[in-house]
Structure formats: C-alpha cells, structure tokens
C-alpha cells in the first residue's frame, strides 16, 4: 500500500485486536489508502478493530465515510470497531454528522484494548 504524502499508517495485532494507527490527515486523497489498511485489519479476523486517531490532525467526510463503511462491516461480522484519541477538530466532524453516538469512542488505547 503506497503511502499518500499526507498519511502514514501503522498496523499491529495485539492479542485478538487489530490496531490501526494512522498519522497525518485523512481527507479526499488519503481515504482510499486508509480504506486499504482497514481492509487488512478486517482480513485478520480480529475480535475487535481499534483505530487510534490520536495522530490525525484533520479528517473530513471521505475519512468519516471510510470509518462508517468499516463499522457496517464490523456489525455484519459481529466484532467491535473502537475509535480512540479523537482530537477536538476530528470529534467536531463526528458530532456535526451526528455520528459520535453511533461509534464506540474511548479516550485511551488501553481502554480500547481492555
């Protein structure tokens, strides 16, 4: 998966969790790459996917749409998708889109992995 200049992504498997940690921004150009990393996490057949967004400075609706798509796949396959570490600006996008109550959002990675 070739990195877009604005985004790098780290993928880990911790226990039965797949942890995706993007860094940079997830907007129009970066969303396809982010989707590929989420697909890799899904293919690992985890009990949960943790998306650590603490290093994401900016996200708009292409990024949010990618996460909505991942959430739908998670529900269909009966595992959890947990978002961690949303900055004020990123959280604001979820709130404006009324999605902050749809996703499972926690403050820390430890809480997501507990």
């Amino acid at each position: 998966m070739a990195d877009q200049p604005g985004l790098t992504v780290k993928f880990e498997q911790i226990g039965k969790a797949a942890v995706v940690t993007p860094q940079g921004e997830i907007a129009y150009s970066e969303a396809p790459q982010f989707r590929q990393w989420l697909k890799k996490a899904q293919e690992a057949r985890p009990e949960r996917i943790v998306v650590d967004l603490s290093a994401i400075a900016y996200m708009n609706t292409p990024g949010v749409a990618t996460l909505v798509e991942a959430l739908q796949i998670a529900k269909k396959n009966k595992y959890r998708l947990i978002l961690v570490g949303l900055s004020t600006n990123v959280r604001a996008v979820f709130e404006v889109a009324r999605l902050h109550t749809v996703f499972e959002i926690v403050e820390t990675r430890d809480a997501a992995l507990a």
Binding site: G6, E25, A27, Y28, S29, N60, T61, P62, V64, A65, T66, V68, E69, L71, Q72, N89, A92, V93, V96, A97, R98, L99, V102
Partner: protein, 168 residues
Amino acid sequence: MSPSSRPGAEAFPTPARNPDLTLHMLSDPRFLSGARSLLSSVAEKTGLSSTSCAQVALAVDEALCNVIRHGYQRRTDAPIWVKLWLLSSDSRGPGIRIVIEDEAQQVDPCEIKSRDLADIRPGGLGVHIIKEVMDFAEYEKRSPTGMRLTLVKYDGPSPDRAASGDAS
C-alpha cells in the same frame, strides 16, 4: 435552529467591491490541502476564532471535494475559482464570505441537499456539514456554465440564532 430556518441571502448581501482574494486552482486533489490551509490562515488573520477557522476550512474542503468528485467526475484539469471577502459587523464581529465557482455540469440547486442523518451509511455528509458549520450556504447556477456556492461565516451568532439561544 435548523439550517433551513436560518437567515436567507438578503441577510448576507454581496459586497460592492472586488474580492479581497481570488484563488484559481485546478480540480486536482493535490491542491485541496493547500487551499484549505490558505483559507483557514486568512480567516485566522481576520480575527475569527480557532473554532470558526476550523469550520471554514472544513466547509471549503467539503465543497471543493464535491466539485471534484460530483461536478467534474474526478477530472483533475478543470477550473475552480475561490473568491474571498473579509467582512466585519458591529454586532457579529469579524466574518468571511467565500464564493466557489466551477464550470461543471449544472444541477438544480434544489437537488443539492444533505441526506437523512438517521440513515447511517458512507457518503452524502458533505452538504450537511457545509450547511451546519456556516451561517449561510447557497448553491446556484452560474452563468453561462457551472455552479456557484456562496458561504458566509461570522464569529458571532446571527441575531436570529442568538435570540433562539442557538450559538453553536
């Protein structure tokens, strides 16, 4: 207050002067980040709060994404103009007016609307976000071709919003 009950175009008249800044860009996604940063930086220098600046940047980004994806069908060589006026109001503080124009296929402005947010699915959120974070957002057909989106954002709440206690 819902976006549909906000003040209309008459509350945000077009300034009787040329734009304070005009950006002519191609519909290439590589320019989105730069355009967003430029507008946000200008908004910050105008005196808008950091929250308002982030909202302006988000709205402009969503609007430009829509032009590239839906208007130009992902063509990367088509023109987009972003025009900006600095505003000031005694009651509402500093503000910014942004007009985004293109030469894409025209659509009925009534057809450009946000989707039902209760319908949880990817996509279709951009127009909702634009209307939600800006004080005024209006699509219209541009003459002779293309579309025009006018956006206005003040730091302070509009009189109607303040009266209703909705200052978000």
